[in-house]
Amino acid sequence: MSVIECKDLTKSYLRKKVLNQISFTIEENKITGVIGRNGVGKTTLLKIMAGFIRETSGEIKVLAQRPFNNLYTSVNTIFVDDQMSFPPALQLQELLEAAQTFYPNWDMEFAQRLFKYFNFDPKHYHNTLSKGRTSTFNAIVGIASRCPITIFDEPTTGMDEAVRKDFYRALLKDYIAHPRTILISSHHLEEMEDLLEDVLLLKNGEVHLHIPISDLKEWAIGLQGPASVVLPWTEGKEVVYQNQIGLDTTYVVIKNDLSEAELAQISLNGVKVIPVRASELCVYLTNETKGGIDDVFINR
């Protein structure tokens, strides 16, 4: 069953199109990573799903209903980011209690255990927390609410590495015990690789790729060797990234549609065949130019 369906979804701010006619569906109980560069429309997309902002045109259905201003969507989704706003008059403990009254699936015992593990003081106030602590508290609310659709927008902002790892692990464990649809946008794809099932890659306000992470890991292949040997192999192939290393060595990333025999042949020619990590590939795919930042410095 698909829980989120987008068809030709467009959102524009003052004539600038942030999302441009995107279409995709997200299946129930999948963890999807929403990946893309800064300003590509990840947050906008997630906020439309949560019903915070309105689509300009096109259609979006969350749980078969239009999310904007919809109570049914609101009770079944939670949107977590570092801008989550809580009344300054309430203590952290009271905020958890408030969340309990609103979210029907809320697990208070679980929330308390996380709260204790991360050393929060029940008598503290949300607006006095540091950036990383704010993100951690918001993440606790996000996980413990057990909403059928849980949306994390950059949930790890400011968290240190240990807390980030704890967060991913807590999320995965609770997901296994209580499966739900989870969307996470983050810049730390390499940390989330084991967590995600699908990847939704946005580029220029459009869906560039929407494939399982296992496919993404094998989607491309890197060839490294003398330019004269490497370049003929890339002809007619989809070149994702190309860079000059040293005087005569070229590193090219191409879409991996080579056969076993071809790969063997390439290796025999003295070209190093290197697997491309998913996070690396996402950076290459979303680059505007083939050479990355190095293009700025050449041919001046």
């Binding site: 902002i53 609101s74 079944n76 009344p87 009271e94 609103f102 909403c147």
Partner: protein
């Protein structure tokens, strides 16, 4: 994960109790502002002094009118405040839609108006007590009539609530476009200057008289309730189209 259904009534109820706790600062500022008003009222709103043949009579009038006016200002400001971004965002952290958010806000303002009306009406007796004990004055007050006292509370609550509805509308307009923050005061002050310059009775005064000078309680009730309802309805409609957390 099982899906949950939400109904409007339950959500508004939850939000209302949440707001009573979350906006506790607004309630404490109400008490603070009323105490200041009591302090201002201690001087009396007027007095007369007459003396003849060695006899001197000093009369001071005490009234809780200032407290009521201050409470109305509080209602106006609070209503504007709860339409601002942070307050609306608090709702959207949890379960809400724009209608339930407005309805719970209105219930909160109604609660504040009732509370403010009760304390404002009681402050009259506080003033008399202070006059008697602190200033050592002989107090002459009309007899305490319970029905009148209750009627006074209801009427002041309705005034305060009506003012808060206007505040809520101003707040909603400002949320649509910040220009209204300038436009609304300009319109009000402008109308005063315009009326004064053509030596006409102030139109603001006429509006005021339309509500205050009504001696028939039922007509008063209809006038003020219909006005309040219409103004709130307009605000709900405006806020219903707003995007949050952009």
């Amino acid at each position: 994960m099982s899906l949950s259904t939400a109904n409007l009534k339950e959500t508004v109820k939850k939000q209302y109790f949440f707001k009573l706790k979350a906006n506790i600062d607004a309630i404490s500022s109400l008490i603070g502002i009323q105490l200041i008003a009591v302090l201002f009222s201690l001087g009396g709103i007027g007095g007369s002094l007459s003396s003849s043949e060695g006899l001197r009579i000093d009369i001071n009038y005490y009234s809780a009118d200032v407290v009521l006016v201050f409470t109305m200002i509080w209602a106006l400001v609070t209503a504007i405040t709860i339409t601002t971004k942070p307050y609306r965002n608090h709702d959207f952290t949890f379960v809400t839609n724009r209608l339930s958010s407005s309805l719970s806000n209105i219930l909160f303002l109604l609660t504040g108006s009732l509370l403010g009306a009760v304390t404002a009406n009681l402050s009259r007796y506080l003033l008399q007590v202070i006059g008697y004990f602190v200033f050592d004055q002989q107090v002459y007050a009309g007899p305490f009539d319970f029905p009148i006292f209750i009627l006074g509370i209801i009427m002041s609550a309705l005034y305060i609530f009506c003012i808060s509805s206007i505040g809520y509308l101003i707040g909603a307009l400002v949320q649509v476009n910040k220009l209204f923050a300038i436009l609304v005061p300009v319109l009000i002050i402008g109308s005063i200057f315009l009326d004064a310059s053509i030596q006409k009775e102030l139109s603001l005064m006429q509006v005021f008289q339309f509500y205050v000078m009504e001696s028939n309680f039922v007509f008063f009730l209809i006038k003020i309730l219909v006005t309040t309802a219409l103004v709130f309805l307009a605000s709900i409609n405006i806020l219903n189209r707003m995007e949050v957390r952009r």
